[in-house]
């Protein structure tokens, strides 16, 4: 059975209570992208400053539940200093971790997740793996990331290519 401790790992609660990179950036030169969770009304703003193809600064605005807020906070620390392509790679890995596979349909509780440490290169983000056992919350965990996805497109379009 998936218990609360699978969901609310200590590091998640820490990012919720002490969110990293919270705030705004001046637009322009930064870009701002807004995301909504249509199910619960959570909203998020991702501010991105891309300099010479590298994400030099990220800020997160908006409000939501512990999962959406901590996931966005962890995202901000994971992608800052990375190139757009590297950020896309983390994004892809994270979304893969958050997807329900076919075996998720069996039984009452969601499928056991791959809990092997280091199963991915996601580092602290691994703590969010437990969310997949709570399918309703997956949209919370991915809100910031989907918004980042759009923000990357916007930054690329806006900034002259290196």
């Amino acid at each position: 059975m998936a218990g609360l401790e699978d969901l609310y790992r200590e590091i998640i609660l820490d990012h919720y209570r002490n969110p990293r990179n919270r705030g705004e950036l001046e637009v322009p030169p930064a870009t701002m992208t807004e995301g909504f969770n249509p199910l619960c009304g959570d909203e998020i703003q991702v501010y991105l400053q891309v300099t010479d193809g590298t994400i030099s600064e990220v800020r997160i605005g908006g409000q939501g539940c512990s999962i959406s807020q901590s996931s966005a906070s962890m995202m901000s620390t994971a992608v800052v200093g990375k190139s757009i392509d590297e950020a896309r790679d983390v994004l892809r890995q994270f979304k893969e971790m958050m997807s329900i596979h076919e075996h998720g349909l069996e039984g009452d509780d969601a499928a056991p997740a791959d809990d092997r440490p280091g199963a991915s290169g996601l580092g602290d983000l691994e703590a969010l793996r437990g969310v997949v056992k709570f399918p309703v919350r997956i949209k919370c965990a991915t809100l910031g990331w989907n918004t980042l996805d759009q923000a990357l497109v916007l930054s690329e379009a806006g900034s002259p290519t290196e």
């Binding site: 059975m1 609310y8 609660l13 199910l39 619960c40 959570d42 409000q63 939501g64 999962i67």
Partner: protein, 426 residues
């Protein structure tokens, strides 16, 4: 089918323990605890009588209706038409022919918007909504507004989540349609439908009532409301998902073009065109969800057996108990959006829908912790974003009471809330 499928709990008494025993799902446990189901506002649980009626339909008389002349097809047709008659009576409708089966309340409202709306509304006409509406009674009108240049106007709410009718006369100016909920799915507020209908009719407007959250809980009388259209949905009133209905005044329905085209809704089809069928068949294109209609009929039998007056009285008492208990235990830590009391000025003004804000715990996190106690509440915006904005929140955790809930369920909610407070205390 009507006499074969009725499962009648004891009449007159309201023995919740016996009633709960009729609902298989309410016997189960989650996370090792008995389930405490407080999300009937989203969908109700189903009594055994409903499940049995649907099984029996498939096992004994499954056939397409209004088509074959053989025994089981006659029986299936009878099952659908007797369900229609039963629903008409349950709603206080003058005639079963005014009851159109749909998929749910959403489809019922869309039917009116497409068929009546596109025939009767033109640029500059006003559709008057209220800030209490569910998206189901907002978006179809916004679609019409975008397509036709119809103006959408709103009746505001006060700080208790009730309609503020102070400027009703001014708001009604130029209105062709008033579309209003009979019970808010967020604040539990029960707007004064008859008063609103009278005011709307006085300016020549048509009145649509979204009764999704009313019919499961209160005796319904569409004639007493003096409404023109009423949308209902089966799954919130002990029935299965996938079945709902639109009641409409005969003369309005008669003048309306079909909504969906296809089989069953025609009188005649040639290579040059078609002649639509009479009402209500005109609006029932394609094979209907027959088993669901049969299941809904069984649900109505269960509600009739209990008596809607008794259901309403039980929920009124339980809601008062819940408001009192939660206030006593949590004081200012817990805010409940919506009317403060069940009764005001001699009228029942709120139902058992309790939208909670608990300290600074986000509703999603709150409902997740409650779930560990087996307590099921809904977190989110409840498909009423304009209202949430007025209430100044993005989401609430909503506990909604129904006929099978009792004081022990409210106590379990309170215990779970206390635990959630501890968990997220930072």
């Amino acid at each position: 089918m009507d006499t074969e499928v009725s499962g009648k709990p004891p009449v007159g008494t309201f023995d919740v323990a016996a009633l709960k025993a009729e609902f298989p799902l309410l016997q189960r446990e989650v996370h090792g605890r008995p389930i405490v189901y407080l999300d009937s506002g989203a969908t109700s649980q189903k009594p055994q009588a409903v499940l049995d009626a649907m099984d029996r339909y498939y096992a004994e008389i499954n056939a397409n209706v209004h088509r074959g002349a053989y025994h089981i097809a006659e029986r299936a047709t009878m099952a659908v038409e007797s369900a229609r008659a039963s629903l008409a009576r349950f709603l206080g409708a003058p005639s079963a022919e005014e009851v159109v089966f749909t998929k749910n309340a959403t489809e019922s409202i869309n039917l009116v918007a497409h068929s009546w709306g596109r025939t009767n509304l033109a640029e500059g006409d006003v559709v008057l909504l209220t800030m209490l509406e569910h998206h189901a009674n907002i978006v179809p009108w916004q679609q019409l507004a975008a397509e036709r240049g119809v103006e959408v106007r709103w009746i505001p709410v006060d700080d208790q989540g009730r309609l503020d009718l102070a400027n009703l006369d001014a708001l009604l100016h130029g209105v062709r349609l008033l579309a209003v909920t009979a019970a808010s799915n967020v604040t539990g507020a029960l707007p004064p439908i008859r008063r609103l209908a009278d005011a709307a009719h006085a300016v020549g407007a048509t009145v649509l009532v979204d009764a999704s959250q009313w019919v499961p809980h209160q005796p319904t009388d569409v004639t007493g409301w003096d409404a023109d259209f009423v949308a209902v949905t089966g799954h919130k009133m002990l029935g299965p998902t996938g079945i709902g209905a639109l009641w409409g005044r005969r003369e309005l329905l008669d003048a309306m073009p079909p909504f969906l085209g296809g089989g069953s809704m025609i009188q005649n089809v040639t290579v040059d065109g078609f002649t639509p069928a009479e009402v209500p068949t005109r609006f029932e294109a394609g094979t209907q969800p027959i088993a669901e209609i049969v299941g809904w009929h069984a649900a109505i039998d269960v509600l009739d057996g209990l008596g809607m007056e008794a259901v309403a009285a039980h929920e009124c008492d339980l809601t008062e108990y819940a408001l009192r208990t939660l206030a006593d235990r949590f004081g200012d830590d817990l805010a409940i959006h919506g009317p403060a009391g069940v009764v005001a000025d001699g009228a029942v003004v709120r139902g058992g829908t309790l939208s909670l804000a608990y300290r600074d715990v986000h509703p999603h996190d709150l409902s997740q912790v409650l779930d560990q106690h087996g307590v099921c509440v809904r977190a989110g915006h409840h498909c009423a974003k304009p209202l949430m904005k007025v209430l100044g929140v993005n989401a609430t955790a909503r506990a909604s009471l129904y006929l099978y809930n009792d004081e022990s369920d409210v106590d379990a909610l309170a215990d779970a809330l206390a635990d959630a407070g501890d968990f997220f205390a930072s």
